[in-house]
């Protein structure tokens, strides 16, 4: 059964990625994913304040996920709600396994992600942008974190649900973040009901799709130096 926007079951929405878009940040990225538009800025490693939250063993990650009030059809209250706090927490944990935080004790690495246009899958787009921004900031990482949403809608197991599919009656939304090299999952949430077999298929779809995202991330990072590459080569 065809999806509402004509995509195949394992097809992603059109994605654009750009790195180094916020000059004053240590690292930054902009990602357009379908209708989603996401800015990520990284500041740090810097002094960790308040001091009692600092760790003498590693850098503390502060991930701030916020949606702009105009990013959704009905104005969103600017005060950070439970959903944003939850996304911030799980995303920070997703990135922590990738970053060599032990190299920067007593510091904080602040990642701010602002959603300026939202249409399902913002937390995965935000993670992808955050990962690019961290790489742009020169923060040592084990791997880029690639993320994608998989799930079920209208009886089909699909990759990258859009808003319509998310609102379907039998919809299941599973955002997944993966360290592509090792295929380790660092973020996994589920909203809905699946059988075990369906879940196993979704997991495979997620890992496959995240590899495509990883390639795009790599391209975006190299693109910053591309023109010079062509000259040199």
């Amino acid at each position: 059964m065809a999806r509402s926007d004509g995509r195949k079951n394992d097809e992603l929405r059109p994605i654009k990625m750009e790195v180094g878009v916020i000059p004053r940040a240590d690292g930054s990225a902009y990602v357009e994913w379908g209708q989603n538009k996401v800015f990520a800025g990284v500041y740090g490693p810097k002094e960790c304040l308040p001091k009692h939250t600092a760790s003498p063993y590693k850098a503390v990650l502060k991930y701030i996920y916020r949606m702009a009030t105009f990013s959704v059809p009905d104005r969103k209250n600017p005060r950070p709600g439970r959903r944003e706090m939850e996304i911030s927490k799980v995303s920070a944990e997703a990135l922590e396994s990738a970053i060599f935080t032990e190299k920067f004790p007593n510091t904080a690495i602040e990642i701010t992600v602002q959603i300026i246009d939202s249409n399902a899958g913002t937390r995965v787009a935000a993670l992808v942008a955050a990962s690019l921004a961290l790489a742009d900031a020169g923060i040592p990482m084990r791997d880029l974190v690639s993320a994608v949403g998989v799930g079920k809608a209208n009886g089909e197991l699909i990759v990258d649900l859009n808003k319509e599919e998310e609102d379907a009656e039998d919809a299941v939304d599973i955002p997944v973040a993966v360290l592509s090299n090792s295929e380790e999952i660092t973020l996994l949430q589920m909203d809905g009901l699946l059988t075990k077999k369906e879940w196993e298929k979704c997991a495979d779809l997620a890992i496959e799709a995240s590899k495509k995202i990883n390639e795009m991330q790599k391209e975006a990072l190299l693109k910053k130096y591309e023109c010079k590459n062509k000259e040199g080569n």
Binding site: G27, C48, P56, F104, A137, G138, R142, L144
Partner: protein, 229 residues
């Protein structure tokens, strides 16, 4: 031109000595940052293209006095914590806002830095650059730095923490040249490109003024020679 690698990219599965910015996982050597691959027959490292300054022993850096305590001064050295300079290492007094070049003596496990061997830098201004570009700005045995000094007529002291202290000469041209180096730091033959860039922009009158400034640049060389101790 060197290959640019990204975090998590597999560099090699051969057994080699690992140097900066690489790590081993399951028998493979991977890069931990976006940078230029520096692979040799027996070792491998990655030269990062971005990142904040990480203090290391024996680095010469430029600090600004931000606080005075009984026994010394706290200097801002462009890291997350201030560094400490003991008064007993100085034979002159400093005040808030003074600029000094110092050498990193020790870095503890919390990356707190102790510095010594201070040299006062009077007047001039500080230009901030990305710390990872400083080795390129200095060049092999100071070659690029000499090109910059001669081409702009400025006195330049380069600190590993991403700060350049400059005085006199054409600082506007110097900033433009630094921007060029920043953009093209990953390409080859940069020293030649910079020399050409400065030649094109050097008006003939400036050549005489560069000679007048020459005596002062000798004292900067003395400062640098002193610091290399």
């Amino acid at each position: 031109m060197r290959k640019i690698v990204v975090p998590g990219e597999v560099i090699t599965t051969e057994r080699k000595k690992t140097r900066d910015h690489v790590f081993i996982k399951e028998g493979k050597i991977l890069s931990d940052c976006v940078g230029l691959l520096n692979e040799k027959p027996d070792s491998v490292s990655v030269i990062p293209l971005g990142g904040r300054y990480v203090a290391q022993e024996n680095d010469i850096i430029i600090g600004v006095v931000v606080h005075e305590v009984f026994s010394g001064y706290l200097l801002n050295i462009n890291t997350h914590a201030s560094s400490f300079l003991a008064k007993r290492d100085l034979d002159f007094l400093l005040k808030l806002g003074d600029i000094v070049s110092v050498k990193v003596i020790s870095v503890n496990e919390l990356r707190e830095v102790d510095v010594s061997f201070p040299r006062g830098l009077n007047g001039g201004e500080i230009i901030d650059v990305s710390p990872v570009k400083i080795p390129r700005i200095i060049g092999k045995e100071g070659s690029m730095l000499n090109v910059l000094k001669n081409g702009t007529g400025c006195v330049v002291v380069a600190g590993r923490n991403g700060r350049l202290w400059v005085k006199d000469g054409n600082t506007v041209l110097l900033r433009e040249t630094l921007a060029l180096i920043d953009r093209e730091s990953h390409t080859d033959n940069l020293t030649d490109k910079v020399t050409k860039f400065l030649e094109e922009r050097k008006p003939k009158e400036k050549k005489t003024s560069a000679k007048e400034i020459a005596p002062k640049s000798e004292s900067a060389d003395e400062v640098e020679k002193g610091m290399d101790n």
